[in-house]
Subunit: 430 residues, 2 copies
C-alpha cells in the first residue's frame, strides 16, 4: 500500500481543530552563538515549547534546499518529489494569476529581433510601465488561438507570464528560447506526441506577437521558458478528509494552498489581521494553515535583526491564538532562510507540536533539577555550588529542537503527526 | 536494489545468538510526569540501559497507529505496507486456526433471516455455547464444496471464522453482507475474474448453511466479511538466513511468527515459563522472538498500575535471560499502548539494543560532570555541592530513549541493526 492510499484508508473526520502556523524561512544559523529564533525574545513560544514536543524537520531530505513550492507541499503532507510544480505555474501562482487543471503557464521575456536574429534577450530591460502597455495592447488583439484561451500578465521590466487554457494542453515542450543572442527565434517543440498541438498553438502565439509588435523596437518578439501544466494533486479533503483553510497574504502561498484544495480566506496583511481572520472563521474549518511571510523576506535580505523582529511580533500574537484552544498546534517553518546566507538553505526547520497526547520531554532545567550543598545556601555564610544550564536548552529554537522528543524527521510527516494527535487517523491493520 | 534483495545478498550465517524481547504495547504516555515504563521499578533494565544503545522506533511511520499484525512484521524486518495481512487471516491466526498458502479465511456472523430479509445481523447474539453446537452440526454436514475443504470455527456469541482451503482460491471478493437489516441475503461477488470460482464456492456455502439451518431461528443464515488469503511472505531464513524461533503464548503472535517461517516453541503461559523455554531450546536457534502480551492487555484496559506490574515482572526475569549471554539483545515494544488512551497509539516504541559493538551514550550523570563549588572541594574542609540528575535520564524509558544514540528510526530497521551487531551482514559493495 502506498502512502497516500494509507492516508485515505485511515483518515476519519471529527471536530478536533488543527492549526499549522508557518513562519516562512524560520530556521536560521547562529550569529554570536544564537540563531534568529534563539535571539528573539519569545516568552510565549518558550513557555509553549516547554510543554510541547520538539524536533527538527527536513523539508525534502537532508542537504536539499527547497523552494517555497515543494517546501509547502511537504508540510501539507505530500511527497514533494512526487508532485512537481513547474516553474511557469509557480510563477503564475506567485503573482496571483488564476490557473486551473486545463492551464499551461510559461514565463516570457520581451526580446529584440533585428535582421532575423535575437539581439537582446531582455528588450533592453524595458520599463515595467512599457511592459504593461504592451501586454494591454496584445491582450486586446490575441485572445484565442484555435479554441485555446490566451492570457498575458505583466511582470517586472521585460518579464511576463503567458497562460493558455483549453482542453488537452500538454507541457512537454522544449523552451522557445535560443538561449543566446545572434540566433533566430526559436520555436517550441513537442517532446511527446501528445504535445504537438500545444506546440503549434505556442508557436502561432509567437508569430502573432511578432506580427502585432512589428516595428515596436526594442520589444518586438518574445522568448518562452518553463512550460508547466497545473499539477493534479489530490486535495487535503481527498487524502485526509480535512476541511482546510489558508490564511496567507502573498499570492504564491494562497496559490499553493488552493492547489491542495484549501479555501483561501480573505485577510488583511499584518499578523494581527491574520489572527483576526483566524478568530472569525475558527468555527468553519478543522484545519488552518497560517502563513507569515516576512521572516523569510528579511532572511533573504540578510537582515538578521529584522527577521528577529518579525519572530517577536509573531510571539506577541501567540496568546490570542492559544486562546482558541486548538486541539493540535504546530509552529514551524517551511524551510530555513538564515540571514547569514541571504537565501533558503537545507537546514532542518524547528518544529513545535502541542497536543493532549504528547510525550513531552522534561525541560533541561528539570533534568538538572536539584543539588544539595553541604549546608543550605547561606546558612553558614558559605557559597554554594551552582549549576549553569545553557539557556538555549529551554528556549524554542534550533538547539532545543535538536534535542526534542520528535527527533529529526521529514516535514512530510508533520501533517500525519497532527492527524494522529487530533485522533483523525484510525488504526492501520488489526 | 530493493531492500529485501539487499538483505538476501549480505546475510551470512554464524553462531551468534540474537534475542528480540517484545513487550507488547510497551510504550506509553506520562501520568504525573512518568510513563508506565518510567514508573516501573526496573533495576535490571535500568542497569542494562546504561550499557546499551537506546532509541525510539516508529512501527510504520510517524503518526500511524498499527495493529499487531503490521507492527510485528515491521519488527521482524518486513515492510508492513508491502505485506498486508487481511482481516480474515488475522482472525484465524488470532484463534489459532491452521491456515496455509492455499487458504482463504473470512469472519462470519450467524444472522437471522425472516421472510427473505435479514432481521438481525447477529442472530440475537446467541450464546457461545449455542454457536459451538451450530458449528459442530454444520461441520459434520458441510466438509467440502466442489474440491475445496470447508472448515468452521466458533468465536464468541454469534461470531465464527470460515476457512476454505484448496487450489486457486482468491480473496478479491466483496463482503457477503447487506450491511443493514431489512435487506435480503447478499452474495459475494468477484472483484477480479480470478476470483469467480471462489465467489461461487462461497455463495454455495451460504446456501448450504441456510438449508441446513432452516427453521433454526434465530440463527438461520450468515454474513461473511473480510475475505483474506494467507499472505505469501519470504521467510526469515530466506531473507536473513536465520534459524528463528518464537516463544509466544497468544495464538495471533504464534501465527504471525509462523507467517515468517519461525518455529513456534511449546511454552507455558507465564514469563517464567517462557524464560524456561528459552533456556531449554537456547542451543537450537540463532534468533528468538519472545513475546510478552500482558503489557498491551492492561494498556488496552486503561490499567496503568497493572501494566507497570507486568513490566516489573519482566524485569525480575531479565537476569535469567542475561545469563544466557546473548550476543545481541533487543528489548522493545511492537507499538505503544498508553493506559491513558486505552488502545494502541502512534507514539514510537522505546528500544534498547545491547551488543559488543555498540556506541553507548554516556549516561546523563556523566554529562553533567563538573560544577564549581564556592571553594575547591575539601580545600577548607567544607562539603561541596552535589548534582542530582533527574532519574528519568538514566532509566530505561521513553525519555532516555528519546535522547539515545539510535535516535528516532523505523521499526523495520530493528532486525537489520540486530543482524549487523551479530556480524551476520556482510559489507555491501566494495
Amino acid at each position: 500500500m502506498k502512502r497516500e492510499e494509507l492516508f485515505k484508508k485511515i483518515s476519519i473526520e471529527n471536530d478536533r481543530k488543527m492549526l499549522l502556523l508557518v513562519l516562512d524561512g524560520l530556521g536560521g544559523l547562529p550569529r554570536d552563538g544564537r540563531t534568529e529564533l534563539e535571539t528573539a525574545r519569545t516568552p510565549n513560544l518558550d513557555l509553549l515549547a516547554a510543554e510541547s514536543e520538539l524536533g527538527l524537520s527536513h523539508p525534502i531530505a537532508p542537504g536539499i534546499t527547497p523552494g517555497s513550492g515543494p517546501a509547502h507541499l511537504s508540510l501539507f503532507g505530500y511527497d514533494p518529489l512526487k508532485y512537481e510544480i513547474g516553474r511557469g505555474i509557480l510563477e503564475a501562482l506567485g503573482v496571483g494569476i488564476e490557473v486551473n487543471a486545463r492551464s499551461v503557464a510559461v514565463r516570457g521575456n520581451f526580446a529584440t529581433l533585428e535582421n532575423g536574429r535575437i539581439s537582446d534577450r531582455r528588450a533592453g530591460r524595458i520599463p515595467t510601465e512599457k511592459n504593461r502597455e504592451l501586454v494591454a495592447f496584445l491582450g486586446e488583439r490575441i485572445q484565442k488561438i484555435e479554441d485555446v484561451e490566451v492570457r498575458l500578465y505583466s511582470g517586472e521590466e521585460h518579464r511576463f507570464v503567458l497562460v493558455l487554457t483549453g482542453d488537452g494542453l500538454d507541457d512537454r515542450l522544449t523552451d522557445a528560447d535560443p538561449e543566446a543572442v545572434g540566433l533566430p527565434v526559436r520555436y517550441a517543440e513537442a517532446k511527446d506526441d501528445a504535445a504537438v498541438r500545444t506546440a503549434r498553438i505556442v508557436n502561432r502565439f509567437i508569430d502573432r506577437l511578432g506580427a502585432e509588435l512589428a516595428g515596436q523596437l526594442p520589444a518586438n518578439t518574445c522568448l518562452l521558458r518553463g512550460f508547466a501544466r497545473y499539477p493534479v494533486i489530490p486535495s487535503m479533503n481527498d487524502l485526509f478528509r480535512l476541511k482546510a483553510a489558508a490564511i496567507a497574504v502573498y499570492p504564491m502561498y494562497k496559490g499553493l494552498a488552493r492547489l491542495v484544495g484549501m479555501d483561501v480566506l480573505a485577510t488583511g496583511r499584518s499578523i494581527q489581521d491574520q489572527v483576526a481572520t483566524l478568530q472569525q472563521q475558527y468555527a468553519d474549518y478543522d484545519f488552518f494553515f497560517v502563513h507569515v511571510k516576512k521572516t523569510d523576506s528579511w532572511g533573504e535580505d540578510g537582515d538578521f535583526a529584522r527577521k528577529v523582529e518579525v519572530i517577536e511580533e509573531f510571539d506577541r500574537w501567540l496568546p490570542a491564538i492559544l486562546e482558541l484552544t486548538p486541539d493540535v498546534l504546530v509552529v514551524t517553518g517551511d524551510h530555513s532562510t538564515p540571514a547569514l546566507m541571504k537565501g533558503h538553505s537545507w537546514h532542518p526547520s524547528p518544529v513545535l507540536l502541542k497536543s493532549p497526547f504528547q510525550r513531552r520531554m522534561p525541560a533541561r532545567a528539570e533534568m538538572v533539577d536539584a543539588f544539595a550543598c553541604g549546608t543550605p545556601d547561606g546558612a553558614d555564610g558559605q557559597a554554594c555550588g551552582k549549576v549553569t544550564v545553557n539557556a538555549l536548552a529551554d528556549k524554542f529554537g534550533e538547539t532545543a529542537c535538536a534535542r526534542g522528543v520528535l527527533g529529526n524527521f521529514n516535514a512530510m510527516d508533520v501533517l500525519p503527526l497532527m492527524m494522529a494527535n487530533a485522533l483523525k487517523f484510525k488504526k492501520f491493520g488489526a
